[in-house]
């Protein structure tokens, strides 16, 4: 990525410190935005959340609804996550989904994060608590 370096399909377009990379040519950048919009619906969780993260940083107002939908669907369909990624796979994906919701930071996102504060996976629960703390929701 500017940063990551290898194997990345949406994360390639971030710097190491999670700033989005935009392409210098306006026509290329338009293609990149369209790619990210399509990637929101791709089957792979990493790709989908990478696109969600990129788009919410690109234009929070425009993409709040679609990005919230992606993150909340992932959180609410844990069975599908386990089925695809196995017992230990969902942890990182759920933490990434929490991060995306934190970036949105509205009431609906906070409510969705709250569903995970007592999660059986300690890493997920901690990520949820930290996100809420960042959003000024001390429990």
């Amino acid at each position: 990525m500017g940063g990551y370096g290898k194997g990345e399909l949406t994360l390639a377009f971030f710097t190491y410190d999670w700033q989005i990379i935009e392409l210098p040519n306006p026509n290329d950048n338009k293609l990149l935005i369209e790619y990210m919009e399509r990637a929101l619906n791709f089957p792979d969780y990493d790709v989908r959340l990478g696109a969600a993260h990129w788009l919410i940083k690109k234009n929070k107002r425009k993409y709040t609804e679609s990005v919230f939908k992606v993150a909340s669907e992932i959180i609410l369909n844990r069975d599908a996550l386990v089925k695809k990624l196995g017992e230990y796979g969902p942890s990182a994906v759920l933490q990434e989904a929490i991060w995306v919701l934190e970036l949105i930071g509205d009431k609906a996102s906070k409510d969705m994060i709250k569903k995970l504060v007592n999660d059986e996976d300690k890493f997920v629960a901690n990520a949820a608590r930290e996100a809420l703390k960042e959003l000024g929701e001390e429990r």
Partner: protein, 192 residues
């Protein structure tokens, strides 16, 4: 007498130890300055070493060369910042050269998958250094279906070089798969 002798020994010891200590302290300071305070110099030095290995490689298998390529990849941010593009031409040559690294499979028992992964580092650097001379070689990589990681990184690199129209469809080809061949941390999750 004994006292005088021991005093002389002590003074001698001090006289010889102090300069040694100073030299060691100085060399330590130099080293820490080189690696911690001046990443630009470190990046430049890595390129120097890569070029040395590239032009005067003593191992025909090129094992040392791959090590330097990986280090160049880790430092591309600094190289871009200081405008050091000395690797561009050799990297283009290496990207086109499918024979040099093939030797590694024979000599070092390296797997083709690992080879592809290492070769892809070259494509990454060429994209991030922003030198358009790399475009034809990167486009050529898009035809390499047997080297998927290099192909994918070449596609990403082309996006950074103003060729998103050519690169992005290939990126999307991988991203839209049910299980992409590589996860977001770069590990290959599916055999070619």
């Amino acid at each position: 007498m004994v006292k005088t002798l021991s005093r002389i020994t002590l003074i001698g010891l001090i006289v010889s130890v102090i300069p040694l200590g100073l030299v060691l302290a100085q060399s330590e300071t130099k080293e820490s300055k080189w690696s911690l305070d001046d990443p630009r110099a470190e990046a430049k030095s890595i390129v120097d070493n890569f070029l040395e290995a590239y032009y005067h490689n003593t191992t025909p298998e090129g094992m040392g060369l791959i090590g330097w390529i990986i280090l160049v990849r880790k430092n591309f941010g600094w190289l871009r910042r200081i405008g050091d593009k000395r690797v561009v031409e050799p990297f283009i040559e290496l990207l086109k050269d499918t024979v040099r690294f093939e030797e590694l499979v024979k000599w070092e028992g390296m797997t083709r998958r690992k080879l592809d992964e290492d070769h892809s580092n070259i494509a990454i650097v060429l994209g991030r250094l922003g030198d358009k001379r790399a475009i034809p070689a990167l486009k050529e990589c898009l035809k390499w279906k047997s080297r998927e990681m290099t192909r994918m990184e070449a596609a990403i690199a082309l996006c950074f070089l103003g060729e998103a129209k050519v690169g992005l469809p290939v990126v999307e080809e991988y991203a839209s798969r049910d299980t992409p061949p590589f996860n977001s941390w770069g590990d290959m999750v599916k055999a070619n």
